[in-house]
């Protein structure tokens, strides 16, 4: 087939480029993931957790996980577009939204680390109890991972219709967003009240789907 004919075929009646394709695909997918995670967390008939927390602790949980969800979703949105790292140095800087998303994530993690340090600083000689909290660490980590799976599947479906070229990073970003969704939902029902617990275990638990996304990315995101 002649390339001129091929170009004619592509251009004929092409119309304008579709707008906001990344947001229109990734947004609803992650929203669905969050909704499913909340329904599963609050409506699960045999859920091993009992009651949630209230006030400042609840606000901290929702604030931290919501921040990770939004920042990772913004990163995934950037990584869903064709992107070459080599081009960053040579011709243009990384898209500002990529840098902004990374900066927000790092700021969130640093803030949680500082808050955790602040909350345990008087408890020498054994601040470890603040990190283990009420002993639900294992339930917390596994529940968040489990609750993030619908968002992970929806996020991968969204990315498969877009054009990521850094497959591992795109998978990790959408995995972290899914982790944020799962942790947000778990935060509603989590009984722990210690800041140090949240800083440690929520972070660890959200990293699990991120790592899973990075592993699956290279295999599932090819196009």
């Amino acid at each position: 087939m002649n390339t001129g004919d091929w170009i004619d075929l592509l251009a004929n009646q092409a119309g304008p480029a579709p707008r906001a394709v990344v947001a229109r695909r990734l947004g609803p997918a992650l929203a669905l993931g969050v909704a499913l995670a909340v329904v599963l967390a609050t409506g699960w008939p045999w859920r091993p957790w009992t009651a949630g927390s209230a006030g400042a602790v609840l606000a901290l949980k929702l604030g931290y996980t919501g921040l990770v969800l939004l920042a990772a979703a913004a990163l995934a949105g950037q990584l869903a577009r064709p992107f070459v790292v080599a081009a960053v140095a040579a011709r243009w800087r990384a898209p500002s939204r990529l840098r902004a998303g990374l900066a927000v994530l790092v700021a969130g993690w640093l803030t949680m680390a500082l808050l955790a340090w602040w909350s345990v600083r008087g408890q020498a000689p054994s601040p470890w109890s603040a990190f283990t909290g009420g002993g639900t660490a294992s339930v917390c980590a596994w529940s968040i991972t489990g609750l993030s799976l619908p968002a992970l599947a929806a996020g991968f479906w969204a990315l498969r219709g877009l054009a990521p070229t850094r497959l591992r990073w795109a998978g990790a970003a959408v995995g972290l967003a899914a982790g944020g969704a799962g942790a947000l939902a778990y935060g509603v029902v989590c009984p722990e009240t210690s800041t140090a617990f949240i800083a440690l275990w929520y972070t660890v638990a959200m990293a699990v789907p991120a790592a899973l996304g990075a592993l699956l990315g290279r295999r599932l995101l090819r196009w």
């Binding site: 087939m1 002649n2 390339t3 001129g4 004919d5 091929w6 170009i7 004619d8 075929l9 592509l10 251009a11 004929n12 009646q13 092409a14 119309g15 304008p16 480029a17 579709p18 707008r19 906001a20 394709v21 990344v22 869903a80 577009r81 064709p82 992107f83 070459v84 081009a87 011709r91 243009w92 898209p95 500002s96 877009l162 054009a163 070229t165 090819r222 196009w223």
Partner: protein, 190 residues
């Protein structure tokens, strides 16, 4: 070697055509794809020592990918950075596919650059459009033939084949996505 100014002029021409194309100017889109095809041909020719038809397979596959993903181009990113990312992705993907099949073929001759056949202005690929269209569903094939080959407007094509305008657009898009999958599966080159 091209003069930098010359190169800059051509780059500006391409950027302007692309901008108008994204807004819906079909003539500008055709011109932009034509300019991009030349750049892609040069890009892939430098990387593979195959026949022009093998290069052309990749050029056409990449053009289709550009078309399907044109909505992911952020105007704040230089067009060629975006195109380069897609071309590089397609090149790596082709290498992976080729690596899987390599054992089935004779090793490539180490031809000198000067021994390469001259590339015609618009060379042919291995793809056979009719055969490819034959593998689409009836609705997708009809939609593509009416709007893309016969050049009917969506309204005219809709009246002709009885699909609603929105169904027609969806079928064109799905059909092109299916073609992209077929091009990858067939692995055109080698």
């Amino acid at each position: 070697m091209t003069m930098p100014t010359d190169d800059a002029t051509r780059g500006a021409e391409l950027a302007s055509a692309w901008q108008r194309a994204q807004a819906g100017d079909v003539a500008a889109y055709r011109a932009a794809l034509d300019m991009l095809a030349r750049r892609l041909r040069a890009y892939f020719s430098r990387r593979m020592h195959g026949a022009p038809a093998d290069v052309e397979d990749l050029v056409q596959e990449t053009l289709l990918a550009l078309h399907l993903q044109r909505g992911t181009h952020d105007p704040s990113v230089p067009l060629l950075a975006w195109v380069h990312a897609i071309a590089r992705h397609k090149w790596v993907d082709a290498l992976r596919r080729y690596g899987r099949r390599e054992a089935l073929h004779e090793p490539l001759d180490e031809l000198l650059e000067s021994a390469h056949p001259a590339v015609e202005p618009a060379p042919e690929s291995h793809h056979d459009l009719q055969a490819l269209l034959g593998q689409l569903s009836q609705a997708q094939r009809t939609a593509i033939v009416h709007t893309k080959l016969e050049g009917l407007s969506v309204a005219e094509a809709s009246a002709r084949c009885g699909q609603s305008a929105s169904a027609l657009k969806v079928n064109v898009h799905r059909g092109l996505k299916r073609l992209a999958a077929l091009l990858r599966g067939e692995g055109g080159w080698m």
